[in-house]
Symmetry: C2
Subunit: 322 residues, 2 copies
Amino acid sequence: LTDVAAIRAAAARATAIRRTPLLSAPALDRLAGRRVLVKAECLQVTGSFKARGAWAAVSALGPAERQRGILAYSSGNHAQGVAWAAAAHAVPATILMPSDAPATKIDGTRAFGAEVVLYDRATEDRDALGARLAAERGLTLIPPFDHPEVIAGQGTTGLEIAAQAADAGVAAADVLVCCGGGGLSAGIALALEAEAPGLRVRPVEPAGFDDMARSLAAGERLGNPPGARSICDAILTPRPGALTFPVLERLAGPGLAVSDAEALSAMRVAFETLRIVLEPGGAVSLTAALSRADAIAGDAVICVASGGNVAPALFAEAIRPA
Amino acid sequence: LTDVAAIRAAAARATAIRRTPLLSAPALDRLAGRRVLVKAECLQVTGSFKARGAWAAVSALGPAERQRGILAYSSGNHAQGVAWAAAAHAVPATILMPSDAPATKIDGTRAFGAEVVLYDRATEDRDALGARLAAERGLTLIPPFDHPEVIAGQGTTGLEIAAQAADAGVAAADVLVCCGGGGLSAGIALALEAEAPGLRVRPVEPAGFDDMARSLAAGERLGNPPGARSICDAILTPRPGALTFPVLERLAGPGLAVSDAEALSAMRVAFETLRIVLEPGGAVSLTAALSRADAIAGDAVICVASGGNVAPALFAEAIRPA
């Protein structure tokens, strides 16, 4: 299981990971009604925090595993993170991606030299396909969130937040984190527990995919009702992770959920006030700061803006004047 | 006159200025044909490097000057920088802006509490209007580039570049700088002369407004031919500064010029590969790295991306798929 020692060890190995800035703007504070600090993981290598967990996991592999190669399933950001980390370690990477993943993300993954295997979400069994590839080739699976080293790598974000919040004079605040399976949220929560106990993680999800929020409220892992849709492709996961949920049950505050329209609006605010590019799933934390202000306590709030890999047409729609 | 001691003193006073990251991406390196390091001043407070020079100039004022207030002329980024720095020092600010300046920039300036006085570029004499306001109110003028403290403040960018390039293992490279009157270029050149002599500033301008490039080639300050137009509103200046030109004549390499269409294309590349928002005038340095590769020497190039205050409609046009 991941602890802060594992996170510190991942940070010590993370030689190619960028320390992303904690951004702010007076105009953003005015819109949110309190001070807002944005951890800009869209500026991370590969455009999302996923590079952190991928680097941690790949750098922890032994020589034999490295030689055989690694396998990952992902609709995009994890794929790019793993492909990048594998290439940097000279490890062959095979990435299983749904054929309807954003072209930006498929192209980005291939550009790092990974072999991308596309499958049809509707008709093919991803897990069976992955298991067959792994067995045939002797590949090591790097899961997107439920993996101790992946959680440790994502937790390096929390070490940076602890230091940067202290520099900004913020000792107590909610830390809103875009949440799919909970790897980023859990890693940050573990880091903050040790280094900034006044900062409390609160997962933020798209409406219809708020399995973590409902699971935290219920005290058990719940899935999402069928049929929901969202543009937040990066964080649409069926249920909380087996490793991440107990961490968040112990350390995180109540979850929050936001709509796609609210996420698009927050993308525009980030564009105008911070000059950063966020994808919908990377903007839900900021969305909650702007649209769920009454559900947040304190004079300051920290938002982890987790990714910026967005198709130009969708971004243009988000910033279009109302 | 500005020297590196003045730049170091400005850096020591720059308590509210952000140390912006030096960004990179493998996909960007591939497009440019060499390693590209982007100094992301679009992430600076107020969305451009102008906050640096404004802070340096306002923080250097004495108590009587602070009490009477300051005056600035600007179509946008300098206005916002000065308004922000003045507000932070509790100094009243009056900003003269052309009535056709981008609404984003006028609104941004007012949001910092400055009094914005609009004038008609075609029918009113800005200098006479400014002189009258300054005389009536006892205001101190903060010019956009030709001022020792403003140049010193912009030069703090160069101190950061010297340190960040060393961290990145780059000791020799062209440093492409978006150039209007030359304050940023001159400040950076002075800082690099002292701290990273292998890095050489090269000013980049919009075609039709390449007065600095032609002046450097001619060895004397030349103006621009009449009638040219460009969307690079941030860097359209009539001629090199009296203080900035001698610095660049001594220290800078040949200037470069790029078209508006090329600048829009570079904005899209920055969006896709770095997830940052650049305005046209803040993107010409990156534009030159992408579109004038043959005119640049070395394995690596550094681009100062100087601002990101762009209207949503124009940004949407830039990122529209071809």
